[in-house]
């Protein structure tokens, strides 16, 4: 089987990462031997403090490794000056940029920093790369806006545009979607995945939202118990590793959909009769009220909820006791059943 179907851009050998103080070193992860290829789209997941940021910073040459090596295009990262690394690895950190009077287009043009001369003047090519980056990230219309005045999602896209203008083969992003609302989260992740696919960039991003990582990432690197596990997101489901990792935690994972849920203590049982979308959502509502929901086809002697077109009926031993027009009403009256 041909594993290295694409070029290796970044590689770690027996890398150990962590923090060094004058007296002792505190390793977080050890003996990491991993490969990153062109076109890879890798989500790095793990709990807070599991070493995601440290790993990313070490890969980018921003932090010293405790041991082992990182190779950039086959060359030991340690021997490459930071001005040269900057032409191959772009980095977007979680640091919130706080600077006034910075136009978006000027922020993006800072991505050309490794290529410009001592004064930082932009050449025609430099400008073209900035234009491309603005175009790809869909920020063209906001170019003259001040960074300060952008929304969080736009700011993050601006930082990504800056990384694109840097024209690197690798982009490392630390928690790029941490502070965004759910639709922006998906928007950014989807944009990054397109970038890796269409432009053959190797993109590694850390994320603590496992459900988005499971859904969108090409590869999942999951840090658990000081180990980094490597695989396609689906592999993690099928080989049971994810369930294993999740065991002992409050959160459970649905084996067929990969959705996460928090199991509830059930206090009561309800039968439900019906079909369609309204039926599905009614089940969700009742489950949220800590009821165990049993589907049934038998309307006789029903104790539970009957879902109709546009209204709901609560039955007690076959007798209709309450009619509801919304799910909200249903949730208010369903306690009539619970008394039994």
């Amino acid at each position: 089987m041909e594993v290295n179907r694409t070029k290796i851009v970044l590689e770690t050998r027996n890398l150990s990462i962590g923090y060094k103080t004058r007296k002792l070193s505190l390793p977080i992860l050890q003996d990491l031997s991993l490969e990153l290829h062109a076109g890879d789209f890798i989500a790095l997941a793990g709990k807070n403090g599991s070493g995601k940021s440290t790993f990313i910073r070490t890969l980018g040459g921003l932090q010293e490794a405790l041991g082992g090596q990182v190779f950039l295009h086959g060359k030991d990262l340690h021997t490459i000056p930071s001005s040269e690394i900057a032409k191959e690895i772009a980095y977007v950190s979680t640091d919130w940029i706080q600077v006034n009077n910075l136009k978006l287009v000027d922020l993006v043009s800072l991505g050309r920093f490794p290529y410009t001369g001592i004064l930082g003047r932009l050449s025609k090519d430099d400008r073209r790369y900035c234009e491309e980056a603005l175009e790809i990230t869909g920020l063209n219309s906001l170019r003259t806006k001040l960074f300060d005045e952008l929304s969080d999602g736009e700011k993050q896209r601006g930082m990504i545009a800056r990384a694109l203008a840097q024209q690197t083969s690798i982009i490392l992003l630390d928690e790029p979607i941490a502070f965004l609302d759910i639709s922006h989260k998906f928007e950014i992740v989807r944009m990054l995945s397109e970038l890796s696919r269409l432009h053959d960039k190797c993109i590694l991003f850390s994320i603590h939202d496992l459900s988005i990582a499971m859904r969108e990432a090409g590869k999942l690197w999951l840090i658990h118990d000081q180990q980094l596990h490597d695989g396609a997101p689906e592999d993690f489901m099928l080989n049971g590793r994810l369930q294993e990792i999740m065991s002992g935690q409050a959160l459970n994972i649905q084996e067929d959909t990969g959705e996460f849920y928090l199991p509830r203590k059930r206090n009561g049982q309800v039968f439900i009769l019906g079909n369609g979308l309204a039926y599905q959502w009614t089940i969700k509502a009742l489950e949220r009220m800590n009821l165990e929901v049993e589907p049934t086809n038998n309307p006789e002697n029903l104790t539970g909820v009957k879902v109709n077109e546009g209204f709901w009926e609560i039955y007690q031993q076959g007798k209709m006791i309450q009619r509801c027009n919304t799910i909200l009403e249903l949730t208010l009256y369903v306690h009539l059943l619970k008394k039994e």
Partner: protein
């Protein structure tokens, strides 16, 4: 556009300052003397070339040097209250001068109080600020965090100021007075010979600052991003510290501590130019800094013509309203929030 306007304004104010003083010299004669021709009054020659011109040049240099070092300190520490003296440069210079003026007079009564502007005072001030900066500098090699460095600089500065206070407490009245006068700053004590030192030295400081402008743009995004863009953080920080010490240190040595310019001008420039680009800010600081300094000097001698007020109080009195006005117009200083 704004830069061009400021340049013209600077030229006008500079010319005006040459015509201002206790002796009235016609503008035509001044222009004549500057272009090399003789005048009917011999003393005018002396007044222009030995006093007014050196003072004007000193004002320009001081304004440029203090503003640019203030800009560097504010950007390095991302702190709007930082200025050229934030790392204890002026305290160090004061200590040097205090030891010379007060310490020695404490040892012997016979000593004549030194006058500001004498070479020994310049040397003492330079040595004092140099030593304090060396201390801050050595700390900076161990401390990676800029804010920690800022706090350490402030602490070292305060400790040094306390030493100066102790010296003042034990010193004689006459030497105390000349020391206090020194702390008020003065542009008029720099001779032509001394200028031939001051100009090249501040030139070096300004070149260092200039070479670091691009990196300072990247610092805007924070240390991690700056490093990821290829900035050599250590080298860049050393250059900023070195340039600031050269600039603020030499101006303080020659003119005494001149307050306010270094804090205010970077803000005035930022507000006027509305940019985050240090290339533009650098140019703006050079112009506005020297402009404000010359105007302060003009005002310092304006009232009667005979007395010259301490430059330190004038820089504050004209600078503060400017900054307050700009703050109100812009609804607050928003630099790093």
């Amino acid at each position: 556009m704004l830069l061009a306007g400021l340049s013209v304004l600077l030229l006008l104010v500079a010319a005006w300052s040459l015509t201002t003083g206790s002796v009235d010299i016609p503008v035509s004669d001044i222009l004549g003397m500057l272009s090399g021709s003789d005048t009917q009054v011999a003393s005018w020659q002396t007044i222009l070339f030995e006093f007014r011109l050196p003072k004007l040049l000193t004002a320009i240099i001081a304004g440029m040097a203090l503003s640019v070092s203030g800009l560097q300190m504010q950007s390095l520490f991302r702190n709007p209250l930082a200025g050229p003296y934030v790392l204890g440069i002026s305290s160090g210079a004061s200590l040097g001068v205090a030891i010379l003026m007060l310490g020695f007079s404490f040892l012997s009564d016979s000593m004549v109080p030194l006058t500001p502007g004498s070479s020994s005072i310049i040397f003492a001030a330079w040595l004092g600020s140099g030593l304090v900066l060396l201390l801050v500098f050595l700390t900076s090699l161990r401390v990676k965090n800029n804010i920690t460095l800022l706090i350490l600089g402030v602490l070292i500065g305060s400790a040094v100021s306390s030493l100066v206070t102790i010296l003042q407490y034990f010193s004689h009245e006459s030497s105390l007075k000349s020391f206090v006068i020194w702390t008020m700053g003065s542009l008029g004590n720099v001779s032509r010979e001394q200028l031939s030192w001051l100009i090249p030295v501040t030139g070096v400081g300004l070149v260092l600052a200039f070479l670091n402008l691009k990196a300072m743009d990247a610092w805007n995004l924070g240390e991690s991003h700056a490093k990821s863009l290829g900035v050599n953080l250590k080298r860049s920080r050393i250059m900023i510290l070195l340039s600031t010490s050269i600039l603020a240190g030499s101006v303080t040595a020659f003119c005494g501590p001149i307050g306010f310019i270094g804090i205010a001008v970077p803000h005035i420039t930022r507000i006027s130019f509305q940019t985050a680009s240090h290339r533009v800010l650098f140019a703006g600081n050079l112009l506005i800094g020297s402009l404000l300094m010359i105007i302060s000097d003009l005002l310092a001698q304006a009232p009667g013509g005979d007395i010259i007020l301490p430059i330190n109080s004038i820089t504050a009195l004209i600078g503060i309203p400017v900054v307050i006005y700009l703050i109100f117009v812009n609804q607050g200083i928003k630099v790093w929030k």
